[in-house]
């Protein structure tokens, strides 16, 4: 893993970045030139990536269309940011909007859950020949993590199809936390096993395992041996208590909420506080609202609103928001028309909303626009690669840096997406 960047190396990097970036823009036409500008300072040290699985309706959340029949009778409310409205389902997030940059002109061509989720995480289309790494694996690959013992890349309540480390080595894959309330599972020795027993057995397992690995070039076989050593080191680490959200006071726990997403976001905050580079939290609710949109929103939005607002508030109170970039992502939006058959909304990749907060992005800002009913992009289209490139750049990743897959194919983080520099304050 690369060491942490010092200020000096970061400066050197920014210089290299300018060169690479201008180089690219000269070759590839006016679009890149527009986006180049002066590169911002990398302010984010960590990312909390909130993933709302299923395809979050933009109209019912952060891109309301007040008074339009498409709203199905739901109204919009004012927020702590001048001139920015959100749907009435998000009263607590409304009070945090002065921290948030909404990107209401997200657009994609992938209207299938697994394909859209794959693009959201990797910036690539899913293809049968290669699996691309998710953004978190890029971040730890290129930047390392501030905390050397804790894994730099953590996935809380993730789905099994998360692309993980893709073609990068397995140790860059996110550490999955399945139940944030239980912390890191199985991280303490069984009561009957003494430390001496444990060490002896681990050494034995390693010796026997390495016979197998020597005759097995498959990279996953060796990975299991490496992982075992990492796990043993982690078990002895003081940092393990970072995973224990029960150490938070009752008020903080209550503020985030007792559902999985709430606990996950609280754990995410503890992890970035301890210097973990990239934490993704997936909501445990399914936003795939094909049936009965209004009822589904009534059921699901309160906890999402509570948790996301609590996270922003808590990060802000602790002075962590300036160095933590929070991103809310989903695979696509939902159709403006409510189905007359199912009273739900269908998949709609044409336009949807993601948002960013903290980590050096503007607060109370709206980038891009959808049309009057939320059907198409009206202004400043932003693709998933563009947005992910923005996140990478905010972290100080050289978006022109090339990594090669094992088969020698060259790739850059966020697949040549153009960072939306207008989002940086």
């Amino acid at each position: 893993m690369k060491p942490i960047m010092t200020d000096l190396s970061r400066r050197a990097f920014v210089e290299r970045f300018v060169k690479t970036f201008l180089g690219v823009s000269l070759l590839s036409g006016p679009r890149a030139l527009r986006a180049a500008g002066a590169p911002p300072r990398a302010r984010a040290k960590s990312v909390i990536f909130l993933y709302l699985r299923g395809g979050l309706s933009h109209i019912d959340t952060f891109d309301p269309k007040p008074g339009r029949p498409e709203m199905g009778g739901v109204s919009a409310i004012g927020t702590s940011a001048d001139g920015v409205q959100v749907s009435e389902w998000f009263p607590r997030m409304a009070r945090q909007m002065h921290h948030v940059s909404l990107v209401r002109s997200m657009t994609s061509t992938q209207g299938i859950h697994e394909l859209g989720a794959y693009s959201a995480h990797t910036s690539h289309f899913m293809t049968p020949t290669i699996r691309h790494p998710a953004l978190g694996s890029w971040a730890v690959k290129l930047l390392g993590s501030e905390n050397r013992l804790l894994p730099g890349n953590v996935l809380i309540n993730g789905s099994p199809q998360h692309p993980g480390s893709g073609y990068f080595p397995a140790h860059l894959a996110p550490l999955p936390i399945v139940d944030p309330g239980a912390g890191l599972q199985n991280s303490t020795r069984a009561a009957a096993v003494s430390e001496a027993d444990f060490n002896r057995r681990a050494a034995l397992a390693r010796a026997i395992g390495s016979h197998f690995v020597q005759q097995t070039p498959h990279r996953d076989a060796a990975a299991y041996l490496t992982i075992q050593q990492e796990a043993a080191a982690l078990m002895k680490s003081e940092d393990l208590k970072v995973f224990d959200i029960a150490r938070e006071d009752a008020r903080t726990q209550a503020a985030y909420g007792s559902h999985t997403f709430g606990k996950g976001c609280l754990l995410a905050r503890r992890l970035v506080e301890a210097g973990v580079r990239f934490v993704e939290v997936e909501d445990d609710q399914n936003w795939d609202t094909h049936n009965d949109q209004i009822k589904a929103m009534r059921l699901m939005t309160p906890s999402a609103d509570q948790t996301m607002a609590a996270l922003l508030e808590d990060l802000h109170q602790r002075g962590l928001l300036a160095r933590t970039l929070v991103v809310m992502a989903t695979e696509f939006g939902r159709t403006p028309q409510i189905s007359t058959v199912t009273a739900g909304r269908g998949h709609h990749p044409g336009v949807f909303t993601w948002w960013l907060a903290g980590g050096g992005v503007k607060g109370g800002y709206v980038h891009g626009k959808s049309d009057a009913i939320g059907e198409t992009v009206a202004e400043h289209p932003v693709t998933m690669p563009d947005l992910n490139a923005t996140v990478a750049l905010a972290l100080g990743i050289d978006v022109g840096h090339i990594e090669h897959s094992p088969s020698g194919r060259p790739f850059t983080v966020a697949d040549k997406g153009q960072p939306v520099t207008a989002l940086f304050s």
Partner: protein, 777 residues
């Protein structure tokens, strides 16, 4: 700008210098198919730029290829522009992918060599049906089919100058065939029995025995469940969703042929308790299009979901093609029409309605009746509702809102079966003449036992099959058809091949390269295989242990639902009254329980032990009397855990079962989920990547502790066998890794456990934590 970019690009693209110029059909056509036909073929009503590249005449008319002169050929120029250039082809905006360097080199070399078509006239977009099948072949012919496959593979290697890996030894074969057929390692007894049996023909005998075992049902169920996305919780709410799981298990156990399973799923109607296959539709409530693309993936090996919303930019498959396929099933009540949940589905409804009206305004009773018949309202049946072109349909505005006529995408047209769309579709889909149905099944079964399909991904069958292994896959396809889709017979053939019985390929093949046919691929076990292989060490006769019935005493008990289905209206009303009384009583009961708790707590607080005992006895009697036998007979309770009574398993937790017996969804953090079991939201959504949490679970988790416990099944077996330290070590190796320890390992063990008081525990722990346990080779 354009010229300079061109120069740059020509400089970058290293032309492929091969001895042979590329051939049109084998090398060039696939490139055009993948990158050009989506917009430039007869599939579009109006091909873009009026350009058709799917026929020799089309290419000639357009003049985009100048033989011998790639730099003057517009085709070459346009595909060579950087993807952001406005004239670049294919345009990325629509989701197409630029040509790879190798593809451009192929195109260039072909043009340089004179752009010869070798007599090719046009591309046939509908792949041709297969010929009528020959006579059925008995399962006994499996060894004969295996010999045919051996011969083909031998020819492949002779032509390539390569060869099969060395034959696998008996122990390696034993572990492999158990994992592949029954989904777990063999138990110590099973290993001992095989290794002690007469050598002649014992592998073939074991294959037959395993294919007929209950373990095969379990492992095959997992395999199918991942494809069918079986998860009772994801079925329509308020329905006994597990009956669909049970239906699939029963189909596998009873040896229902694959084509018959698919026919029954496609044509399923009725209630789940009459026909579990109806779950096929209840699983996809309100999602007719996803349902269609999923069934096309798993039964035809064809991914069509791109075309759900627009023409596929990567293949000449149009949105209309997709809609026409979806139109066969889209009318089913629960997919696209709200009529799937309605009073009208309850056959007693007219009488019920009349009776209720005759009783005057009684809202409570109406609600009670509505609740009593709720499960009957959800019915899977055909409706007349046609699928219509969406309001956003971009390719023909006049079609918007118009009904879509069903039509098949390839092979034969669907037969006409008395206007029964689904039957027609099922007949076409499962016909041995369908060019993709048997092929998909054969390729998937091949993958199941060798680790990779002959075509990968297994759902990438197209009208233009890859040239590699075409003959082998055709032979396998005919074999499966010959066996009349008997999967066991087909697997018997595969398992008897020399390829299957060769040493495994221990490296990971480069993605995108064809199967090299040296041997089966080494791979990590599935989450289910890892779980089940641990349980072999804990549970005697594991495969026989079943989950407690989930519906005992529940209001979703199928027997109760069957009675309800045929109950006269009057009886339903009286039953609804009983249920209302039950619910009222239940409420009082719950309140009384809280009071009882308070009474006891108060007595405890007083320190009055005698009063506590008295209250406990009173409450027990009171609670026993609370429900009359009549109320209990209503079977309104939820599923209660039934205690284990079988002496073999009495001391074991209720959920120490094969993974196939544990109902989904599993709680967060369950061992199976940690190791990447699919949550069955999407097809084959499992994950087998290594993760630190796996090491933690294996080192510190509950399963390892259970196996090490002195009274565990494994420990009892070891104790019963007895013997020297080396004999113990050998037995542990056989039980966990299904092989003998090497001399080097024995020496390592002796050194590292020299000062240990628990060498046996150390060895078991170390083997459970060796990567070897987690991989199949």
């Amino acid at each position: 700008m354009k010229a300079s970019v061109m120069v740059l690009f020509v400089g970058l693209a290293a032309p492929l210098i091969g001895a042979e110029p590329p051939r049109f059909e084998a090398d060039v056509l696939p490139v055009l198919y993948r990158h050009c036909f989506s917009c430039h073929s007869e599939k579009q009503a109006k091909p873009k730029g009026d350009l058709r590249l799917d026929s020799a005449a089309g290419i000639a008319d357009a003049g985009v290829v100048v033989a011998g002169k790639p730099d003057l050929s517009e085709l070459m120029q346009r595909v060579s522009l950087p993807p952001t250039h406005e004239d670049a082809m294919p345009p990325l905006k629509g989701g197409a992918q630029p040509l790879s360097e190798a593809e451009r080199a192929t195109l260039r070399a072909w043009i340089v060599a004179g752009a010869k078509m070798d007599g090719w006239v046009k591309f046939e977009h509908r792949d041709a049906p297969l010929p009528e099948p020959g006579a059925a072949v008995a399962r006994a012919a499996a060894p004969e089919i295996a010999r045919q496959v051996d011969a083909l593979i031998e020819r492949h290697h002779a032509a390539k100058g390569t060869r099969l890996n060395a034959p696998v030894g008996d122990e390696g074969f034993l572990r492999r065939v158990y994992l592949d057929v029954v989904g777990r390692i063999p138990s110590l007894e099973e290993s001992n029995r095989f290794l002690a049996s007469p050598r002649e023909g014992r592998r073939a005998r074991l294959i037959d025995e395993l294919l007929s075992s209950e373990g095969y049902v379990s492992h095959t169920y997992n395999w199918k469940a991942d494809q069918l996305r079986l998860n009772p919780r994801l079925l329509a709410a308020g329905q006994p969703g597990w009956l669909y799981d049970d239906w699939v298990k029963h189909a596998v156990r009873s040896g229902l042929a694959h084509d018959e399973i698919v026919r029954q799923l496609i044509t399923a109607s009725g209630y789940l308790w009459e026909n579990g296959a109806a779950g096929f539709y209840l699983r996809d409530l309100g999602m007719p299009l996803d349902h269609a693309s999923n069934l096309s993936r798993i039964f035809l090996g064809t991914r069509m979901e791109c075309a759900q919303c627009h023409d596929n930019p990567l293949e000449p498959v149009t949105q209309k093609d997709f809609l026409q396929m979806a139109a066969f099933t889209a009318g089913v009540s629960n997919l696209s029409s709200p009529s799937g949940y309605s009073n009208d589905n309850v056959k007693q409804w007219p009488q019920l309605k009349a009776l209720l009206e005759g009783m005057g305004e009684d809202k409570a009773l109406q609600d009670g009746v509505s609740r009593a018949i709720a499960p009957l309202k959800r019915l899977t049946r055909d409706t007349d509702k046609p699928l219509t072109f969406p309001a956003t349909y971009a390719y023909d505005e006049s079609a918007r809102g118009q009904p879509v006529s069903p039509r098949t995408l390839f092979g034969d047209e669907a037969p006409i079966v008395d206007g029964d769309r689904r039957r027609a579709f099922a007949e076409w889909l499962t016909s041995p003449r369908n060019p993709r149905f048997a092929k998909n099944a054969a390729n998937r079964l091949w993958k199941r036992v060798t680790g990779a399909g002959l075509i990968e991904p297994v759902d990438s069958l197209t009208a233009l099959p890859p040239p590699e292994h075409r003959e082998l896959l055709d032979t396998l396809t005919s074999a499966l058809i010959g066996f009349r889709f008997d999967e066991r017979a087909f697997l018997a053939a595969l398992l008897n091949t020399r390829l299957y019985q060769s040493e495994a390929v221990r490296d990971r093949p480069e993605p995108g390269t064809p199967f090299a046919l040296h041997g089966p691929l080494l791979r990590r076990l599935s989450a289910e295989q890892i779980w089940d292989s641990h349980l072999v060490l804990l549970v005697p006769e594991l495969d026989q242990r079943k989950a407690a019935l989930r519906h005992e005493g529940s209001n979703l008990n199928p027997a109760r639902l069957r009675r309800l289905t045929d109950m006269p209206a009057e009886q339903i009303i009286s039953r609804a009254r009983d249920e209302m009384a039950y619910r009222a009583r239940r409420r009082d009961f719950t309140l009384r329980l809280t009071e009882q708790k308070k009474e006891i707590t108060a007595a405890q607080a007083r320190g009055d032990a005698a009063a506590v005992r008295q209250l406990q006895a009173d409450h027990a009697r009171e609670n026993d009397n609370f429900f009359s036998p009549e109320l209990l007979a209503l079977e309104m309770g939820g599923a209660e855990p039934v205690p284990e009574t079988d002496p073999r398993w009495k001391s074991l937790p209720r959920d120490f079962l094969r993974a196939s017996e544990i109902p989904l969804p599993l709680p967060l953090g369950h061992f199976l989920r940690q190791f990447g079991q699919s949550d069955r939201r999407e097809i084959d959504a499992f994950n087998r990547d290594p993760n630190t949490t796996h090491a933690l679970a294996l080192m510190n988790g509950a399963l390892a502790a259970r196996i090490l416990a002195p009274d565990s099944h494994l420990r009892r077996q070891l104790a019963a066998a007895g013997g020297s330290r080396d004999r113990m070590t050998s037995l542990i190796y056989r039980a966990l890794l299904v092989r003998a320890p090497t001399d080097g390992e024995l020496a390592t063990l002796a050194t590292l456990t020299a000062s240990s008081l628990t060498p046996e525990d150390d060895t078991i722990w170390a083997l459970l934590n060796s990567p070897e346990f987690l991989f199949q080779d």
